[in-house]
């Protein structure tokens, strides 16, 4: 996509990167789905990707990151939606509308819904992957909290709301993945409905 004829990437001197992390992650996702997550070692992935095991660890912090890493853009997009939020004062439950807007904006950031569904199903099936949710989803807590507190929500309430939101939304994504509906929006909306802001 990048580095086409018009846009040339500025490269520093030094050996160029030989592998495409996204392709490797996709390969790993396929292998995990076929043979099982625990049954597949990092060396297996490295071998099939024609890459050294050490190199694999340079591009992915750990084994779970091969699966969770792909969720990064979605989470960032969802968090970034707060930056373009309109107001600073404190409307009543319009705050929840802002939350919903940000959450739904995350959907648009997903390049391939089918791949994401496969990723989430894999996560749902493996406790080790499931337990990593906070590690990645917790990224947006900071932004969500500041969004809430800036609109008049008390400090501690904002904390609990973030925690509840995070849990409910993740559950919604898992539910969407477990079913066959193409649009995750209804699931996310229903999850948001269990929160109370007043």
């Amino acid at each position: 996509m990048l580095s086409n004829d018009s846009i040339t990437i500025k490269r520093s001197p030094g050996r160029p990167v030989t592998i495409d992390p996204e392709a490797v992650a996709a390969l790993a996702l396929r292998i995990f789905a076929e043979r099982g997550y625990e049954q597949t070692s990092m060396e297996d992935i490295a071998r099939e990707a024609h890459v050294g095991r050490k190199t694999l660890y340079r591009h992915f912090a750990n084994k779970a990151d091969l699966v969770w890493g792909g969720m990064g853009p979605v989470i960032e997009a969802s968090a970034a939606a707060f930056d373009s939020a309109p107001a600073e004062p404190l409307p009543a439950n319009a705050i929840l509308d802002g939350l919903r807007e940000a959450v739904l904006a995350g959907i648009a950031a997903i390049p391939d819904l089918a791949v994401t569904r496969g990723r989430l199903r894999l996560i749902a099936e493996h406790p080790e992957l499931l337990s990593r949710s906070q590690e990645y989803l917790g990224t947006r807590h900071e932004q969500t909290r500041s969004y809430l507190t800036a609109r008049g929500i008390p400090e501690d309430t904002a904390r609990y709301l973030c925690a509840a939101l995070s849990g409910a939304l993740f559950e919604a994504w898992l539910q969407w993945a477990a079913h066959d509906d193409s649009d995750p929006a209804p699931y996310l909306r229903r999850a948001l409905a269990v929160l109370r802001l007043g």
Copy 2:
């Protein structure tokens, strides 16, 4: 406490257990707090407890279980409170009162608040321990969900409520641990307040 003069424990034939798991967990908790969680190996714990490393793994599923295991009684007590819940039909937001009651019942099951606070502070400081929350807190989801659905809450809403509840309550416990108030009840009450059941 048990096996006093009146109550005699029926013992199967075979070598008796030589270690006290609770004492070992308490020891581990102290060592972790002193030297750090990652910096302390299972072999370190085993050595100081005068126990083989293999034996340690027989009583604790993994390293995190040395810390999280102690939360078991609290979680069970909280879940058991649903069994003694009064009604089956569907009051309006009296359901939330039942939830609150169950949650507060968990507090009574804590033998030593100071130890629990230390445990939670340790958990809060270490991402690896923090990520295990679902693994242990998820135990009561089944019971909480059936409590909600039996009282008229739709299946999917109950799911999202459980997820939100779990996240918010855990955050409340962490907040209580981070502060110095002796009673965790107010924190839990505020966390419950972010939920909506209607």
